[in-house]
Assembly symmetry: C2
Homo-oligomer: 263 residues x 2
Amino acid sequence: MRPIGVFDSGVGGLTVVKELIHQLPHEDIVYFGDTARVPYGIKSRETVIRFSIENILFLLKQDVKLICVACNTASSFALPVIKNHFKVPIVGVISPGVREAVYATQNKRIGVIGTKGTIKSRTYEIEINQLEPEVKVTAVACPLFVPFVEEGWLSGDVVLDVARTYLKPLKDARVDTVILGCTHYPLLRPVIKQVLGENVTLIDSAKQVAVEVKKILGSENILNTKGKGKHSFYVSDNPEWFSGLAERFLGNSLKKKKKAVSG
Amino acid sequence: MRPIGVFDSGVGGLTVVKELIHQLPHEDIVYFGDTARVPYGIKSRETVIRFSIENILFLLKQDVKLICVACNTASSFALPVIKNHFKVPIVGVISPGVREAVYATQNKRIGVIGTKGTIKSRTYEIEINQLEPEVKVTAVACPLFVPFVEEGWLSGDVVLDVARTYLKPLKDARVDTVILGCTHYPLLRPVIKQVLGENVTLIDSAKQVAVEVKKILGSENILNTKGKGKHSFYVSDNPEWFSGLAERFLGNSLKKKKKAVSG
């Protein structure tokens, strides 16, 4: 009966929550968004690790049975360091996306887009090449994408121009698969698709993360199979800002369920 | 011989430091940029006040003789609350800009642009109308300007398009004076000028802030008049990121003097 814990630097991790709710409708979920210190993507490795540990300790106080790090920057910097420190299973967003991308690519050229922190960490490249050394990885940071999503600029000439600039190295490298390595980016999927073309496969790791969470809960015999899951949302600042954005990330179906409490 | 303390959420306050160095060349300056928690512009009043108090306590440990709050969001939210709690004189960036704008306007229509926090606080409108009740104020938030400046997108079609969208209410209101109510915005002056036209006066409060600091130091007999001032820069995270941006804000003249230390 214990809940699944999910944390993110802010609101982006809700794209993962949406998929968890879809695939695991019987599970309770506790979400923590660190809106007082958002964004993580421009911050140093040491600071992101410290913030991640603090967020995990908050979720452990909520007696969670598994923790999902629904933030690519935190998964890149912190997960390799902290994963083995805790008894509770911890699932990040990198490995599930990597597995799906390596499975999807035909020409062995994968693109990765993410925050500055995620790209600088080189975690995606390292994990892809551990799984499949022959894959050529082209990784680019798209730092303006997060502010665009948070401001609701999801289409139009301005965003398209910025996307064309950022994604040019991926087009030049003729990748056939691109990992959306930041939980905000699925909201820009139409623009990214328009720039890269219909033939490029876009990987959003949220689905695979939920698959992995389900597998772990099943193997440890702690999967809920009855009842309707309850969902609680905590933030470290600005519940109004979070609530306003939450609809964009979760879709309207959850409008009435969400609750934002300063954590 | 005690230094002047300056703090900002990150790097934007360096536009104020540049002006302090120019007008007060004999003063030592200690700068603190809260890069671990940047940006403040999207955060709540309570959180910005808490962060501001923590920054002031850090600067007091450096034995500063005056504190300059070189961040519009912190000045808007925190200054009215905290100003009288401390013995040390505290100067914000709002009042100096307000005085200059009220002095400059001919048609009594002033525009204000700033972060979401600054605009939401209504501090500029309130201070302008306290000084001159007849002035009509049009205030708009320009949340994408800060990420554009920090990413170095200071000109070009994309920024121009965004500026046209944001500044339309100011054009419609036929303001003749606009306060650049965020320390990042002076770097976008050419674009803003291009959109608003040559006849609109842009107010950058940095100059007036330095005038006010000088006046206070003079009246309290703690103005340094000899020697070359030393300048120290502290950040709460990511000194490399700060150093990279610092040149853009300070200009090349200070290249060799700056030092970034995790505080």
